[in-house]
């Protein structure tokens, strides 16, 4: 059985700061990683591989050569082959275009039995790429899945949405978005990641995917034109003294604010 995980190389969101002085987001020279939510998808894939016979897990990422090391981390988590698809246009804000490129890459690699994605990406938070990918590929989409497995030549997914938990069985192939509560992803060590051989990564250009002549893969439909501080103005006061003193002062302050009622 074959699983493909679509994962995203992102700037570590916990490191991103908005610089009030310049009015700009600082994104340059920050550490990069596998988007947290895609790590849950990778973990789910590797768990299926470990618990069943004859399962291969491929991972697809889009970007430039800087993505190699992130793909290696995904391989160190237990995936078999990594595919690096030429990018250069990626923005976190265009899920349909991302999905279009991923769909072509999957068709070129060979449509698998199961495609796993994260519920959102750590930079965009749109939560739309998985559904768009399913539409491009003409597949069922199940999200957000707190459990996914491949029993009896089918896909079984437990989806929790709204106030209901539903268990579905779908024929191969389908797209499933793995919820962040589904598992705790394993963390490969730096050494394990470094030991991944470069020949386990295969490259694909947009030309290989037949996308170069189609301008829509290269032009930006959605652009970020400005940013501003998202901080809500707060008092920022600190209460000093020992625990008893400071606690009493806090209660007094909240009383004055009228929020203790």
């Amino acid at each position: 059985m074959r699983i493909i995980v679509c994962a995203k190389h992102v700037v570590d969101s916990t490191e991103i700061r908005f610089d009030e002085a310049s009015g700009r987001l600082v994104l340059a020279n920050l550490p990069t990683k596998i988007s947290d939510y895609d790590r849950n998808a990778l973990e789910a894939a590797v768990k299926i591989k470990e618990s069943r016979e004859d399962v291969t897990v491929d991972v697809v990422m889009v970007g430039g050569s800087e993505v190699q090391k992130t793909l290696k981390e995904a391989l160190a988590m237990g995936a078999d082959t990594g595919y690096l698809v030429e990018g250069g246009w990626e923005s976190p804000f265009d899920p349909v275009r991302s999905a279009g490129v991923l769909a072509r890459a999957i068709e070129e690699i060979g449509v698998p039995d199961l495609i796993l994605v994260g519920v959102v990406s750590e930079d965009g938070y749109n939560g739309l790429t998985g559904a768009a990918l399913a539409e491009f590929l003409g597949m069922t989409y199940l999200a957000p899945a707190v459990r996914v497995d491949m029993p009896d030549g089918q896909i079984e997914a437990v989806v929790e949405a709204g106030d209901v938990r539903r268990t579905y069985r779908a024929a191969f192939p389908a797209v499933v978005a793995v919820d962040s509560s589904a598992n705790v992803p394993r963390l490969p060590t730096v050494l394990q990641t470094m030991k991944v051989k470069a020949d386990r990564i295969r490259s694909r250009t947009l030309d290989d995917l037949g996308l170069a002549s189609d301008g829509s893969a290269r032009e930006a439909s959605i652009t970020l034109v400005s940013t501003s501080s998202s901080a809500v103005k707060r008092k920022g006061l600190t209460l000093v003294g020992g625990a008893d003193e400071a606690a009493a002062a806090l209660v007094e302050a909240l009383e004055r604010e009228g929020v203790l009622a």
Partner: protein, 333 residues
């Protein structure tokens, strides 16, 4: 200039009213608002929880037309059916903009419809506007690190509004009820071989979005057993208990419905007391609506300090019992 037409849709009736009201405010020229509903024999499937007549009444003053597409209750087909209805409506009414409110079905419907309509799709939108012929979208970017403005080239898009926000129970109450037009079930473009094999309600012990006071705990807590201490403070305050993402998703010390943040629940209480929470942007993005934010933290350099109104710098294991004592000592009356 002729009026624009905007298609609106949502998982829940109040959210659909909100989408229609936003659509109405989109541009200085008039906007025709067409609300898309999928229903089976008059009972709404998308949005869920009302009937067609009731939904139309609630849309008085904000929608011009309610387009009802026949659907089936087959759970496996809900997302596909919703997307097909959006596509059919966008084509029939020549709409440039399809506007939804975030929800599980809305996400699937929006992503699928955008592909079929060959339109860009953007989620987590706070505000959508036409500036001339361009669509501009205000939304949090990079997990809440900043507020951003996006521009969509081409002037047509599928946009999903971020959930939360003030639900509008009814439209303005003025103006006429929208006309209802019925349409047959569109032919699905995707063959879905899928069966529902089990369904059960999810026990939800709390809805933090409705809470007036919240005490929330983060990684400053040493072990799961200590949650009792925080719970004691919550009781003393008459508050609900919440937590940051690591406690719910990594450690699993608390259920997901108690998680506050960008991928958890957005809250807007009178008081939000963050205990042992450092104040990552994704967490702060979930508490923007709080009237007063207070915090207990050992680190004066923690981001929570400048994002709170009052912070006690200290060890929560000393401060929390002290707070409980101070609260009990308050004079009654």
């Amino acid at each position: 200039m002729t009026a624009r037409t905007v298609i609106v849709a949502a998982d829940e009736p109040a959210a659909l009213v909100r989408a229609a009201a936003q659509a109405r405010d989109l541009g200085p020229e008039g906007v025709d608002v067409v609300a898309v509903v999928v229903a089976e024999s008059g009972a709404c499937l998308f949005p869920r929880g009302t009937d067609v007549t009731g939904m139309a009444e609630r849309l008085s003053g904000v929608a011009d037309t309610v387009a009802v597409y026949e659907g089936s209750a087959d759970q496996c087909l809900q997302g596909i059916a919703a997307s097909e209805a959006l596509v059919a409506a966008a084509k029939e009414w020549a709409a440039d903009l399809v506007l939804l409110v975030d929800g599980p079905l809305a996400r699937e419907a929006a992503g699928r419809a955008a592909v079929r309509l060959r339109l860009p799709c953007v989620g987590m939108c706070e505000k959508v506007e036409y500036v001339g012929d361009r669509i501009t979208i205000d939304r949090a970017v990079y997990g809440g690190a900043a507020a951003g403005r996006l521009e969509v080239a081409g002037g047509a898009a599928v946009c999903v509004l971020a959930g939360g926000g003030d639900p509008l129970d009814t439209g303005t109450g003025m103006g006429t009820a929208p006309g209802i037009v019925e349409r047959p079930a569109p032919t699905p473009g995707v063959e879905s071989e899928c069966r529902l094999i089990a369904e059960e309600p999810l026990e939800r012990s709390v809805d933090l979005a409705e809470a007036r006071k919240i005490v929330s705990v983060g990684r400053g807590l040493a072990r799961a057993d200590d949650i009792g201490i925080i719970d004691g403070l919550a009781s003393a305050l008459g508050a609900e208990l919440g937590c940051s993402r690591p406690l719910a998703e990594d450690f699993k010390w608390l259920p997901k419905e108690r998680m506050v943040g960008l991928t958890g629940t957005s809250v807007a209480p009178l008081l939000y007391l963050a205990v042992g929470i450092s104040g990552q942007v994704q967490h702060l993005a979930g508490i923007r609506g709080a009237k007063v934010v207070a915090a207990v933290n050992t680190d004066p350099k923690s981001p929570i300090v400048r994002n709170a109104d009052y912070t006690v710098i200290g060890d929560l294991y000393a401060v929390v019992p002290a707070l409980v004592a101070a609260l009990s000592a308050r004079p009654r009356g």
